[in-house]
């Protein structure tokens, strides 16, 4: 019985895989177009918390500050307490104003007034360092902040 059914199966015409390259190419082009090569690597842990009221924002005139614990291979130098990642460097709260003002000066003039600071903060970070960063930002008059969160 078993043998018979097997035989009848093999008599079916094989599924044509001729269109497989086309499908793969479509996927390939999709990913090629959406790929953005990152100009910075994550140096700190960054698990972003969820918030169901999160909205989408335009990505123009944005300055990004990432806060989290240094990754394992940086812990020898920077310890295990949360630090800031400013561009491609790890820094402390005292580096924030210099970094933000430099980024601001690199921006086109018409965007400067609308500049937003994106705060990408790891969910395990304590509020102390966050409050310090916010205080520094408000001192240099960068009042628009965006707490990055994943939409639920």
């Amino acid at each position: 019985m078993k043998f018979k059914t097997k035989k009848s199966n093999s008599s079916l015409p094989p599924v044509s895989t001729a269109s497989l390259p086309d499908i793969v190419f479509i996927l390939l082009f999709f990913f090629m177009t959406v790929t953005v090569f990152k100009d910075q690597n994550l140096l700190v842990e960054n698990t972003i918390p969820m918030a169901n009221q999160a909205e989408k924002f335009a990505k123009v005139g944005v300055i990004e500050i990432i806060i989290g614990k240094p990754l394992d291979n940086y812990q020898a130098n920077y310890g295990t307490e949360p630090v800031l990642q400013l561009g491609n460097k790890i820094g402390g709260v005292h580096d924030v104003s210099a970094f933000v003002l430099e980024e601001l000066s690199l921006m086109p003039e018409h965007l400067r007034a609308k500049a937003t600071v994106n705060l990408k903060i790891d969910e395990n970070v304590k509020l102390g360092i966050v409050n310090d960063v916010k205080k520094t930002l408000s001192k240099i008059n960068m009042l628009k902040v965006n707490y990055i969160a994943l939409k639920k």
Binding site: V24, T35, F37, K59, K126, L127, S138, K144
Partner: protein, 203 residues
Amino acid sequence: MKHQRNPPEVNAGSMADIAFLLLIFFLVTTSLESNDGLQRMLPRPNAETADIYERNILRININAQNKVLVADNLINSKDLKNIVLDFVDNGGAQIDSPFYCEYCEGDRSSYSSDSPAKAIISLTSSRNASYDVYLDVQNQLIDAYNSLRTREAIKRFTISYSDLLLEYHKAENYSSEKVKLKSMIEEIRSLYPIKISEAELKI
């Protein structure tokens, strides 16, 4: 002659493999980065002080144990949205007062806020509180305001507040449609202005 007419076909069987390799490369390097978030304004560096009645302030505090306190009472963090809703929508001002809120649907208690425009939420936190609790509180505050705004938007324009914002972003720039939607959004916003203070309170 025969060979020229029928050149040997190029084997395209490995095409799929090459495409797969490229595909996997781009899959790995792609980061579909999201730019979602909660937008907030920080307090001005040297803001002027204002005298505010105690009934118009809702004090929210996140303590070092990651517990949320409202007016020094421990609450379940899930209840925060409803507490904020009740507080903002209270509309306690008397009917002859200039701040009377005719669209409020709250209890109109004289121990809670006079009107949504007067209601201020004060958010303070311990340095040892965790960021995800803070973001959850911020999220619930915005959630409360958005649901109030949606209620008014449906009542006045039969469209929810989030749809109103979507329509606004979809509308063509400088069109009369966009101007109209903008004035609608501004009207709704002025009914329930978000007033969250993270400044230190002087009592």
